[in-house]
């Protein structure tokens, strides 16, 4: 194999002068985590609102929420990121657009918006499915007791719906983490981008990708374990 292995590379100084290659990867990891958490917050909040709207007995609201979901899930994430990053500032008034383009960490905000809204459309589907999976009798029972629609959602439907969709939400969260890597195309220096940069500077392709791979697997494991714990905490049988 025409390749020169060098596992010491991680402890060599990177051309950035601020530390070793390992530090470089770790800073990428940090951005990955930060971006994922911010995007997840957006996705979860917006997605829940939209998902609930789709189950309410108000036609125009259902339609609007449905259109939202279709819009955000039928355009590839990469294209959405380009729209947020390249296209949106051009469509705004010149001054505002320029301000957006020149603010520090523009790529980060674009990534949070792009990945966040993309995720929200998927979360919305899960929330709707979760509410839909409850027996119709549950909302009837709530109503029959005299609870209002809002109370029925708050006290009866949502607590169960979120329990049901906890596992799919876990994988959506994992997807969010993975999806942040697409933001390397708009210059976000997250983990995959850093692994690629390390590869470019050092030419040690396999070492740098292996390290990134291990880091992603570790994040994955941490998230899965954390979510399992949460699932157990809120499960109705496991106590």
């Amino acid at each position: 194999m025409n390749y020169h292995w060098n596992w010491q590379i991680f402890w060599e100084l990177s051309p950035e002068g601020t530390g070793t290659y390992l530090d470089m990867l770790l800073s990428g990891l940090w951005w990955t985590i930060l971006t994922s958490l911010a995007a997840w917050a957006v996705g979860l909040v917006v997605g829940s609102v939209v998902g609930i709207a789709r189950t309410l007995p108000i036609r125009p609201l259902q339609w609007l929420a449905g259109a939202y979901v279709e819009l955000f899930r039928n355009i590839p994430l990469l294209v959405q990121l380009f729209l947020w990053y390249f296209v949106l500032p051009e469509l705004l008034p010149h001054g505002l657009g320029l301000w957006m383009k020149q603010m520090p960490n523009a790529a980060f905000y674009s990534a949070v918006a792009g990945v966040g809204f993309f995720t929200s459309s998927r979360v919305a589907e899960q929330v709707r499915a979760g509410i839909g999976a409850l027996p119709r009798g549950q909302s009837m029972a709530g109503k029959a007791l005299g609870l209002t629609v809002a109370q029925t959602y708050r006290y009866v439907l949502l607590p169960m719906a979120y329990r049901i969709i906890l596992p799919p939400l876990t994988s959506e969260f994992l997807n969010t983490i993975k999806n942040t890597s697409v933001a390397l195309t708009i210059g976000l220096l997250e983990l995959t981008a850093r692994a690629r940069a390390m590869q470019e500077f050092s030419f040690q392709v396999f070492e740098s990708f292996t390290a990134a791979t291990i880091m992603y697997m570790v994040i994955n494991m941490v998230v899965v374990i954390a979510m399992r714990t949460l699932e157990r905490r809120v499960s109705l049988t496991g106590r």
Binding site: G137, A141, K143, A144, L145, G146, M160
Partner: protein
Amino acid sequence: MIDITLVNKFYGNFQVLTDCTTKVRKGEVVVVCGPSGSGKSTLIKCVNALEPFQSGRIIVDGVDLSDPKVDLNRLRARVGMVFQHFELFPHLRITENLCLAQEKVLGRSHEEAMAKTLSLLERVGLKDHAEKRPGQLSGGQQQRVAIARALAMDPVAMLFDEPTSALDPEMIKEVLDVMIELAQDGMTMMVVTHEMGFARKVADRVIFMDKGEIVEDVPKDDFFGKPHSDRAQAFLSKILTH
């Protein structure tokens, strides 16, 4: 108490209820039976304003359901309803199931609601299970809790939709016993059921529905004695033979 006049209801083009008319007086127990899909559940849901209907009128305890000024939530709270599949709230403890609507709808204090809850659980024989969750109870126990939950709102009438048909044979009796007691205490009840033993014992009248129509609406003894329509006869012979 419950006054149903010429009610018609459609799902899209499909007519589920046709000109349904009947009356349930205070303290009366009415059993509703009929083949699957005949509209029994739909009728009972209309009475509790859980389903809208297109024409006709339903008056419950003096309140006209179709009056747009009526607060439907308060009205629903005054009519208790028990479902085939219990529909307890699985994430809440038994006491929480009973307290929720008392506090949120009737505005009772937690202490008041709790006192009522415990006395009702005692009445249905489940005081020992007060702090469990629904999933930890058998079907029969869950249905008794569901009855207690409806009673906690001090309803003026109770509606039952096949309360025993999702139960294992051995548990049917424990639920029927609670219902019989309730009937004997003078509760106004409308009960969809195929348990003819129950009907024989406590019903005042039996309503037989088929294809969305009320085909028979007669005193119990007349029903079991000499059903008028062929359809009711055919139905009775089927469910009574085995």
